[in-house]
Symmetry: C2
Subunit: 142 residues, 2 copies
DNA sequence: TTGACTTCATTTCATTTGCAACGATATGTT
DNA sequence: AACATATCGTTGCAAATGAAATGAAGTCAA
């Protein structure tokens, strides 16, 4: 039978590392704000993009339609975002951060930057530079 | 409010890339063998390690206890692995590949190598070398 | 205007997930 | 031996997930 080293298999290594790092960060903001990864992504995208539809979010942020919809509902219930039917096109729902949401983002952003910096700190400057190019390439591949 | 570019955030990029690559590969072996990612990992680990317990698998392979247990049950039902209570310690369940499982692995291994090669083909040799070192470092960090 | 299509967000439904509880077995202490 | 404690794998359960169905709203062509 063929032998195969899972530990050296790139998709596996990638998955393990991603899980580890995402969980590590989720613990940080989860403890502070009680939000999930999906909610974090919605908040961040709204902070970037301003007033956008559900569709715009899930197209940009690598999440399922229903996942975004549900995250948005929870965030609305928590007073973090606002949902408003678009006046021109009533199929669209405009999402936007409330003042509370903006204050949350003001604290989330530095937490994210700190966490990222801490993770990448184990790499040399050359490695960090190489990593960027590698990810650019892999992410746009195919 | 603080501005923040999710697309450049390392944990996010990692998650997107990992999802993309794992799904791409899962489609390959899913179409061929109808197995899930959890089942793929169990099979591969058994191919590497021979006769091992459930515990040994989930400790080595970054999965939940119950996930491994359920994957193993499905694989047993499909005739791919064998479950046998350890004679010395009856709490342990020894998992091993059946001949059918071994034949499956003989086809899975080249598929995996091909897929990995195809993914990494977009990188230069220098980038591939750098990537290895980077992952070694990040995976053992903290 | 009517009817056929498309798009949008939510919801439904079956499945998957992770955690905790469980029963069974093993170990260690008195 | 008797009891407490620890470990193993499975299962119960509530929550999360993804795919498809739904209904509401918009678009287009006849």
């Amino acid at each position: 039978m063929d032998t195969f080293d899972l530990d050296q298999f790139f998709p596996y290594r990638l998955a393990v590392l991603s899980t580890k790092i995402s969980k590590g960060f989720a613990e940080v903001y989860g403890k502070e704000f009680g939000i999930s990864l999906a909610e974090w992504r919605v908040i961040v995208h709204l902070a970037m993009a301003g007033k956008v539809s559900v569709r715009e979010i899930y197209q940009r942020v690598d999440m399922d339609k229903s996942k975004v919809s549900r995250a948005a509902s929870r965030l609305e219930a928590a007073g973090v975002i606002l949902k408003k039917v678009n006046a021109q096109d009533k199929r669209l729902v405009e999402l936007s951060l409330t003042p509370k949401g903006k204050r949350m983002m003001d604290r989330l952003a530095p937490m994210a930057r700190d966490y990222e910096a801490q993770v990448l700190a184990v790499l040399s400057p050359e490695q960090r530079a190489a990593l960027e190019g590698i990810f650019d390439t892999l992410l746009e591949a195919e």
